[in-house]
């Protein structure tokens, strides 16, 4: 049963159609990521769901209720902004209590809930501080607490970690995951960082040009990109055309014009059912624990990723034989 459903959503900004006939449905209690390059309309989609931008046509339903025409505050949707958007004139506790006070909950309950949630995000000792006195990571935790404490049906997070240092970002995203599972919150997490999306999501929606380009679990999206855009955006696939593929494997049964091959699926050592291709390594780039080799072959240049284990052989290797299995080739659709 779908919890949040978006049907044929069209949203226009400044005379330009930003979201085009967008469809999406999400299960309750899941953490889903909206992944896409900057400018593809991720923020706009969140603002359409929250009601901050009015939509042109289409329908937004949460928990069976049509909220398309409701004011933002009536939608029971929470939002966490990239810039935190904490209220500088209120203490951390008052920031967190703000939404509860709007619901006219009695004071004792409010302070109890505020204390609980602050403990949950590890800021119980900062209750009396002002936002200006906190670090970026702490501020974003407050923002998270402030949105969670009112128990929204869906929590929208617009690149909440982008303004933070790499290290804090990784730590905070784990905490976010833990919190989400513990409280069973339905979350839509926007990011342009594919690694981040892979790490935390139950499902990923890849966005492109105001539409959903593909949806699936992280491994589905990673191992089976369904079109050229996703293959290019997720993990630097080698792109091959029909002719190249047929020269490698002979006539194909499956229809298609473009094919993708993951750089790490290509091996330097013989494999079962693999065809071999000779080539020369013309470039090497160390990407952390992976070495990306650019290999010149008669079928064009291919990227090959190997684990970086400091092998001298990798450094000296020039002429190589590549082994490619047909099952690793993914057919892309336009």
């Amino acid at each position: 049963m779908s919890y949040l459903t978006i049907e044929n959503l069209n949203l226009e900004l400044g005379g330009k159609m930003i979201l085009k006939d967008l469809n999406l449905s999400i299960e309750k209690g899941q953490l889903i990521s909206l992944l896409g390059p900057s400018g593809c309309g991720k923020s706009t989609l969140l603002r359409g769901i929250s009601g901050l931008n009015s939509i042109k046509s289409g329908k937004v339903m949460i928990d069976g209720r049509d909220i398309t025409k409701l004011a933002p505050k009536k939608r029971e949707v929470g939002m966490v902004f990239q810039s935190y958007a904490l209220f500088p004139n209120l203490t951390v506790a008052d920031n967190v209590a703000f939404g509860l006070a709007m619901k006219r909950i009695d004071k004792d309950t409010v302070s109890k809930k505020v204390a609980q949630i602050l403990e949950l995000v590890g800021l119980e000792d900062k209750a009396k501080s002002y936002p200006g006195e906190l670090s970026g990571g702490q501020q974003q935790r407050v923002a998270l607490a402030r949105s969670i404490v009112v128990e929204p049906k869906v929590l929208l997070l617009d690149e909440p970690l982008s303004a933070l240092d790499a290290q804090i970002r990784k730590q905070l995203r784990l905490e976010l995951c833990r919190l989400q599972k513990k409280l069973g919150i339905t979350m839509i997490f926007v990011t342009h960082d594919q690694e981040e999306a892979m790490a935390i999501s139950d499902r990923i929606f890849v966005m492109h040009n105001g539409q959903i380009a593909q949806e699936g679990t992280p491994s589905q999206v990673y191992f089976h990109p369904s079109n050229e855009f996703v293959a290019g955006f997720i993990g630097n696939y080698n792109k091959l055309n029909k002719e190249q593929i047929e020269r490698l494997f002979g006539p194909l049964i499956e229809e298609g014009s473009t094919y993708a091959l993951r750089p790490e699926a290509i091996e330097f050592t013989p494999q079962d059912d693999a065809v071999s291709v000779v080539g020369q390594i013309i470039e090497r780039h160390i990407l952390g624990n992976v070495v990306r080799c650019t290999v010149q072959t008669q079928y064009g240049t291919l990227w090959v990723d190997r684990m970086n284990q400091g092998q001298a052989v990798l450094n000296d290797l020039k002429d190589v034989t590549l082994f490619i299995r047909q099952e690793d080739v993914v057919t892309l659709h336009q």
């Binding site: 929250s50 901050l52 933002p72 505050k73 949707v77 929470g78 939002m79 902004f81 810039s83 958007a85 904490l86 209220f87 500088p88 004139n89 703000f98 939404g99 709007m102 619901k103 002002y130 936002p131 200006g132 006195e133 970026g136 402030r146 949105s147 009112v150």
Partner: protein, 281 residues
């Protein structure tokens, strides 16, 4: 090179202070003009001034004009600026040119228009004058409030409050206003000193019928220069107090904002607001 810079700045400060200093000395001099140094020093001009009911009346008139107009500015202008900045960006381009308004439509031109329109008694001239001053407060207020709003990212704060269930009016009063308070206060103080020292519109529209502090100053200058100097010094001290308040508020603002966002550069509100220079010539 360092010495040279220091020398130039010192010269500049001296150049700016010299007229103020001679006025100060003049206000304490029994007589000055026959010899290079004053013939004696006295406090009698100040004593005489503070006993002059017309001086007190002039100060009161200036205060009334300033406070009434400033109140109108705060009630009408400030919410409008915020509203346009946050919700009606379409109108924003209409606001931008007003920074140049005092140059494009100098006081004498607006005063001419106001007089040609309202000397028929349709609207009380005090209200006309107040309306004219209101127009010239636009640049100060717009700049201070806008930069304040930008600094706190007012649009985002309003959205965040709304997402948490607040109405727009509640969010404006409880969240937006407290956070741009300092910008509003700085703008108000700048406007205050401009209104308080206003001469041109007042002189053209009401002239001797409404003797404000500057008009009083000029009248006394023609009769007794020493007394007039005492007026100038009193007036300046009042404004120094106001400026001190501005400094204090700007510093407060900077402390808060630098804590708020580590990397965000502080944008001065008073500093480099040349608009302030314009009204008092």
């Amino acid at each position: 090179m360092k010495k040279m810079n220091r020398f130039i700045i010192t010269l500049f400060v001296a150049f700016m202070c010299l007229p103020i200093l001679v006025t100060l000395v003049y206000s304490f001099a029994t007589e000055w003009g026959k010899s290079i140094l004053p013939s004696g020093y006295t406090l009698k001009w100040y004593a005489q001034l503070y006993q002059d009911p017309q001086f007190l009346a002039a100060i009161s008139r200036s205060l009334i004009l300033t406070v009434v107009t400033l109140a109108a500015v705060l009630v009408i202008l400030v919410p409008s600026i915020a509203l346009v900045a946050i919700y009606l960006p379409k109108f924003d381009h209409l606001f931008k040119p007003i920074v140049l308004l005092p140059y494009a439509i100098p006081g004498v031109v607006l005063a001419t228009g106001l007089m040609r329109t309202y000397t028929n008694g349709l609207v009380p001239l005090f209200a006309v004058l107040s309306g004219g001053l209101f127009i010239y407060s636009l640049p100060f207020m717009y700049q201070s409030v806008r930069s304040s709003l930008q600094e706190i990212d007012g649009t985002r704060l309003m959205e965040a409050a709304e997402m948490l269930g607040a109405s727009k009016v509640y969010a404006f009063i409880r969240i937006l206003l407290p956070n741009i308070k300092i910008g509003i206060m700085v703008g108000s103080l700048l406007t205050f000193s401009a209104f308080f020292g206003e001469f041109q519109l007042t002189n053209m529209i009401l002239g001797g019928d409404f003797e404000t502090i500057r008009i009083y100053m000029l009248r006394v200058m023609k009769v007794n220069g020493h007394l007039s100097s005492a007026v100038v010094m009193t007036y300046l001290i009042l404004l120094v107090i106001i400026s001190a308040l501005i400094i204090k508020l700007t510093n407060m603002n900077r402390k808060r904002s630098s804590m708020m966002r580590e990397e965000a550069a502080f944008k001065p509100i008073v500093k480099g607001s040349p608009a302030h220079e314009l009204l008092n010539h």
